[in-house]
């Protein structure tokens, strides 16, 4: 068993690095393949994504720990809980950001699919952020279930656990290769491949995390399932529209 320990002070550093790395890859990507919208529109989309992601990650992060929220509500400490550390989740951030962008596009009349440029930066950013989650150890809410496998890690409580953060980094590396291939795809496909893959991955990997369950799945998994279903419906709708146009 590999001993890592718990070092939560590194988490904010890697979170900051994740944003910086994601933005650097975004700039590189945009310079390389161009943009489908003008710069002011791109910033409007990014603002909507940032605010949506912030709200989504916090809301789902807190909802995921619903027993704690209920206890805080009953003891009238809900404000303290809202200002407390942690309680943010990437799945909520992605779904919130996606909803935010779609709402902003409706408001401002942007018709083009704007997500493709975000696919690779999100892979890189999440992977860098997960290094911080791994080093933070048991203090972060992203650790895995106990296991006796040879690659189990001790994250500060003396128990061998699945290194789920490392599994995710490896998955994201593969996903990054997939989405960075410059195949001729319809606009928006790159982002949809990324989102569907990541949500499916979370649906799977969260079975290896000790979280409170509702009907067999935790809240993040239910949210991922809802996101996947919505993506499937959107894909079917897009296909039907294409067939009508072609016909």
């Amino acid at each position: 068993m590999l001993s890592i320990g718990s070092h939560p002070a590194w988490h904010p550093l890697f979170e900051t690095l994740a944003y910086a790395a994601g933005y650097a890859v975004f700039r590189f990507n945009r310079d390389r393949q161009g943009d489908v919208v003008a710069e002011p529109q791109r910033w409007t989309v990014m603002a909507a994504a940032a605010v949506g992601a912030l709200l989504g990650s916090r809301v789902l992060g807190l909802a995921e720990q619903w027993p704690t929220v209920v206890a805080a509500w009953n003891s009238r400490h809900i404000l303290a809980l809202l200002l407390s550390p942690g309680g943010k989740t990437i799945a909520g951030g992605l779904l919130g950001g996606w909803i935010g962008v779609e709402a902003m596009k409706k408001l401002t009349g942007i018709q083009r699919r704007t997500g493709d440029l975000f696919a690779l930066p999100l892979c890189v950013g999440i992977a860098v952020g997960r290094i911080g989650c791994f080093i933070a150890g048991i203090a972060d809410d992203t650790y895995g279930k106990p296991t006796s496998l040879p690659w189990a890690v001790d994250l500060g409580d003396g128990i061998g656990r699945h290194p789920v953060q490392i599994y995710e980094i490896l998955f994201l590396l593969l996903l990054a290769i997939l989405v960075s291939k410059r195949a001729a795809r319809r606009e928006g496909t790159q982002f949809r491949i990324f989102l569907a893959s990541y949500l499916s991955w979370r649906l799977f990997i969260d079975f290896f995390k000790p979280q409170p369950l509702i009907h067999g799945l935790n809240l993040i998994q239910w949210s991922c399932l809802a996101g996947i279903l919505f993506l499937a419906l959107d894909w079917l709708r897009g296909r039907a529209t294409n067939e009508q146009t072609a016909g």
């Binding site: 002070a9 904010p12 002011p40 603002a47 940032a50 605010v51 200002l83 550390p85 943010k88 933070a136």
Partner: protein
């Protein structure tokens, strides 16, 4: 002619940066947990340090959070005002083509 205020202030960039700062500040509170552990082992050194970082963290969160909310409100209001003034910003036509020609003929 002057551009509307909403076009001159980069609201989208400001909102993006503030949202990211708020997100990071929210995560920074994790440092308190570590410093709490330091306090347990070194009471004299740890307590003032915890208070200082706590103030920085909460300050960062509140400042970026309040600025974020105010910026979004200002953006929404100025966008509404901007679109309203744009709709009435067409140059007013005082004379139609015929009356202009007519006035030339009179001269």
């Amino acid at each position: 002619m002057n551009r509307p205020l909403v076009d001159r202030i980069p609201f989208a960039k400001i909102v993006t940066v503030l949202a990211i700062i708020f997100g990071i500040a929210l995560g920074l509170c994790g440092l308190n947990g570590v410093l709490m552990a330091i306090i347990k082992s070194n009471e004299e050194f740890g307590a003032p340090l915890l208070v200082t970082t706590g103030i920085v963290e909460i300050g960062g969160m509140l400042l970026s959070g309040v600025c974020l909310v105010l910026t979004v409100i200002a953006w929404v209001i100025l966008s509404a005002v901007g679109s309203f003034s744009r709709s009435g910003a067409e140059p007013q036509k005082l004379f139609d083509e015929e009356s202009n020609t007519g006035s030339k003929d009179e001269l």
